[in-house]
Symmetry: C2
Subunit: 139 residues, 2 copies
DNA sequence: ATGACTGCAAAGACTTTGCATCTTT
DNA sequence: AAAGATGCAAAGTCTTTGCAGTCAT
């Protein structure tokens, strides 16, 4: 039997928060952001709903940046840029490798390719400017 | 003053182990693999040397797969495939996106791009065959 | 002898989970 | 009332780190 899904005010708020930002938030970021308006929110609930939204295909993971998993409500294919210094994640909508790349790789290597991720790493413009300052970028 | 680097039997063994496998090992994998021949090896030493090798440019991180960071001794640009089921990581030497992609992105977005990663996700051939069995792939 | 490297264990950071309670239907 | 969703806190996993002892130079 299929498990029923019920409405929840917090679930709705969490999803809205992800969809309303372009910062590719982490669980902790969402928790801090929602806490003021949902004082009894728990971090566990954020994690549980992130897992839920992924299973539903409403969000996807962008990967782990500086120890924290980051999420994206834009589920259409696009590339990302990750700043090695401040950890910010940006969308790069124009840099999808062309064509049926997944299919080609599947065929050539005998794999079942479902998707791919193209991610650029470096310094964002803000960190580039301050580069001669204190902080060394994490490798 | 530049910090001196000294020889260490264990460091040598750890690097050799990474270079001698194509499995893109994790710290734990290396530890388990080296333990028999280095019974007093400590996991902390593995982690410290992985950080050291990265700083030296002798290895690079392939990213976090199923909660564990994975490393690669092949530091020339190439793509990877990650199995969502068993977590294995494969090299795909033939699928580097063409040309000066990093430079183009740098220029177009005003970022300092250092490198990029192209990673495919799906099921490896082994897991594809057993797909109708017990285990569901982790999303 | 100096200082780099290590083992060990504790601590840290992030995430998951068990259980009682609250909510939705 | 039934069962999903949550809060809370404990536990789990992976990684980092402090310190005393060891080893390379």
């Amino acid at each position: 039997m299929e498990r029923a899904v019920r409405y929840s005010r917090k679930r709705e708020a969490i999803l809205a928060e992800i969809q309303g930002t372009s910062c590719h938030p982490s669980a902790e970021w969402l928790y801090q952001r929602l806490k003021p308006r949902h004082p009894d929110l728990s971090l566990g609930t954020v994690y549980r709903n992130l897992t839920f939204f992924q299973a539903q295909g409403q969000i996807k993971s962008v990967g782990v940046v500086q120890g924290q998993e980051r999420f994206d409500a834009v589920v259409t294919p696009h590339s990302h840029f990750v700043c090695n210094c401040c950890g910010s994640v940006l969308d790069l909508p124009d840099f999808q490798p062309g064509g049926d790349l997944d299919r080609t790789v599947s065929w050539q290597y005998g794999l079942t390719v479902e998707r791919h991720e193209l991610t650029f790493y470096g310094l964002c413009s803000s960190c580039s400017k301050q580069q001669n300052n204190k902080e060394e970028p994490k490798l």
